[in-house]
Symmetry: C2
Subunit: 407 residues, 2 copies
């Protein structure tokens, strides 16, 4: 007898027929004694349609009223899914965010969950009902409806699972698990049976798109195992949890990712004075520009001059350029080059901590493929290399082949 | 400085443009110190669209889940209307039924309001905001969302007005008030400046369609004046209240109504025994058939035989016939005739209590027009006559002309 929270996204409930299919699937997999909570997003394009309605009324944005509007999307899908369960002969009850006891802070449009009061959901589960909970929404202490922003429904599912002390949380997606690399790039990519929260977070940060980091962080915080699996098959997917349950760690590296939405910025010939780096990076931070892979180098010929290289997302290039040119008027550095013809490839794995050869093996794999490394950065559980954009596929395959040799 | 609750129906908020027009109108009429609550229905066909979605999932009906679904309709329109106010520069806040403190009983799909907790609405009004409240919905003590059924949004408006001790409640409709008769039938029909709750209830019962009796009853119970007025003009409409505020009662009769959805049933030659009427009318009541205008007559020639005549709605004729034929097998009465070629014309006015000539004047007006009266029934404040269906227009005009002489 397990207590399981299952989350289905908007494309899984896009039509009345798909809603019925979700209900059938949940019932097929349910053991008689299981207690099941289903978290759903709004049907298909509903959220976009609601936004269009608001845009037809006003060109301004209103946080509270927009959340009031958008929250209806999930309220529609939960009621229809509860009806589908009932039609199939299983008692079910739908709950909005506030009914499910999901409280948030007051940041409309991207509220954070501050607490789960699980009593009502538990009471209905214990009465034998399937409980269908609206994802993506909650309520403030003052009683205002909020929405959670990006990754919101996954976050709802993990938070509700944590609040209920569920056995685990299942996230149904259009892929059947977490892969050692993007299967569209690496034909030999392997599905991981297990992966740690930290590895998943690092993979997400470095370009793997399956899970939004937010829900993984929540899972990590509460030690809630997250099972990422396919909407379309019954196979087991990938469990995200604190530690591998298997003694033998099959692969040291858990994934090879890539990210082509990268621009390399080189600020050359900067006076080597305290506070210069602060000036540059605080100006970028103020403009909400995320900076990654920072390398600072002192010139051998002139120790008073440094060069700074870092990467940002390509969408931020124009704003970064104008910020840096403004700073240049004050500090006058030697030169500014921006290169969007780059990509980042990374290897991620908690196992690299006890395996000193990982960096060397990664660089070796790139050298074997005659790929130049422009910048290197490392974290405790990852190594990233900036390379020429055109060589991404080759680089990812060469590295992947090194760590996941063909059987 | 007044506190006014204004209600706009679904056709008034059917599109983003119409929502903006409602917001503009409310602001135009608002005095700086006025505190305004706006109650709105779901946009245009939204409710029908939601019902179609549910029907695509299941052919059964689920009270709680249907209310969860339908309540989204008003939640959409309140958020958009609040945005429209903000766009026009006036602070506004939307509230669902539960946020506005509207509690109901547990009868899903047609819940009755059991209480209004006005604190949150009052706090926002006192902060200078326009409060936009979702009509047609509330919440049970257990926290389940309910909808109020027919006449629900008008009822919300009057209930909220009563809970807030508002000065009055304005119901915006596609007509500009309550008329002395249907203007499509009587070209000379007068708009009433005032009418009592009881008169309005009697008019509604006898065929006038402007207001659902439910909200009028609530207004009567709380003594909340209801101003029925046009969405399209700024003119004053009709005030429904307990007493006329003017000393002189301009017209003794407040309205002449007609109802063509009537069938006359004659049960002839029934044995005159105790319990026979009970048998017939309890069987009809059990089938939810409303019976009106009952006349029982003893035959002069044979005191053991009676004839019974009554009217029902035409939609109930088939069921009534089968019920009566079944009873006929037990009691065996002499004959059963059903006549759908009839109509009911009525005069309504609290003033008739002190004016004994009203009945005579009504009958006289029909006689002047050579119209035969088949059945007569009276209440404290109304007189109804059953006549031949084809003569309705003539009858209504003749009676109207008697009580509202042309200027």
């Amino acid at each position: 007898m397990a207590l399981i929270v299952k989350k289905f996204g908007g494309s899984s409930v896009a039509t009345p027929e798909k809603i019925m299919a979700v209900a059938k699937r949940v019932l097929q997999e349910k053991h008689p004694e299981d207690r099941i909570v289903v978290v759903v997003s709004a049907m298909g394009d509903t959220t976009d349609d609601l936004i269009s309605l608001a845009e037809a009324v006003t060109d301004k944005t209103y946080g509270r009223e927009m959340d009031m509007l958008l929250a209806t999307g999930e309220q529609i899908s939960i009621s229809l899914l509860a009806m589908a369960f009932a039609k199939l002969g299983h008692e079910a009850v739908s709950m909005t965010g506030f009914q499910a006891g999901i409280t948030t802070n007051e940041v409309f449009n991207k509220a954070k969950i501050t607490g789960i009061a699980p009593e009502k959901v538990l009471a209905e589960l214990n009465a034998g009902k399937i409980v269908v909970v609206a994802g993506f929404q909650g309520i403030t202490k003052a009683g205002d409806i909020t929405t959670l922003g990006r990754g919101g429904s996954d976050t709802t599912a993990v938070a509700v699972a944590a609040g209920l002390k569920a056995d685990h949380c299942e996230i149904y997606t259009d892929v059947d698990g977490i892969y050692s690399s993007d299967p569209r790039v690496v034909s030999d990519a392997r599905r991981m049976k297990e992966i740690t929260y930290n590895e998943m977070l690092e993979l997400a940060r470095l370009g793997a798109g399956v899970m939004h980091p937010r829900s993984v962080e929540l899972g990590k915080h509460y030690g809630m195992p997250i099972h990422v699996r396919s909407t379309f098959t019954h196979e087991q997917g990938t469990f995200i949890r604190e530690e591998y349950t298997m003694e033998e760690k099959e692969f040291v590296i858990r994934g090879v990712t890539h990210d082509t939405n990268v621009a390399k910025i080189a600020v050359l010939g900067v006076p080597n004075r305290p506070g210069i780096a602060y000036k540059i990076f605080s100006a970028l931070a103020k403009a909400n520009i995320d900076v990654d892979m920072i390398v600072q180098s002192i010139r051998v010929a002139d120790k008073d001059i440094i060069d700074m290289v870092f990467t940002i997302a390509q969408g931020d290039v124009a704003r970064a350029r104008s910020i840096l040119e403004k700073i240049n008027q004050e500090i006058s550095f030697g030169g500014l080059t921006i290169d969007e013809n780059v990509a980042k490839v990374s290897v991620v794995g908690a196992g690299m901590l006890g395996n000193p050869g990982i960096a060397a093996a990664t660089f070796g794999a790139l050298a074997d493929a005659s790929i130049n490394i422009e910048v290197i950065s490392t974290s405790e559980i990852s190594i990233s290399c900036l390379i020429e954009a055109g060589k991404v596929k080759q680089a990812v395959n060469s590295i992947h082949n090194r760590f996941f040799p063909a059987n």
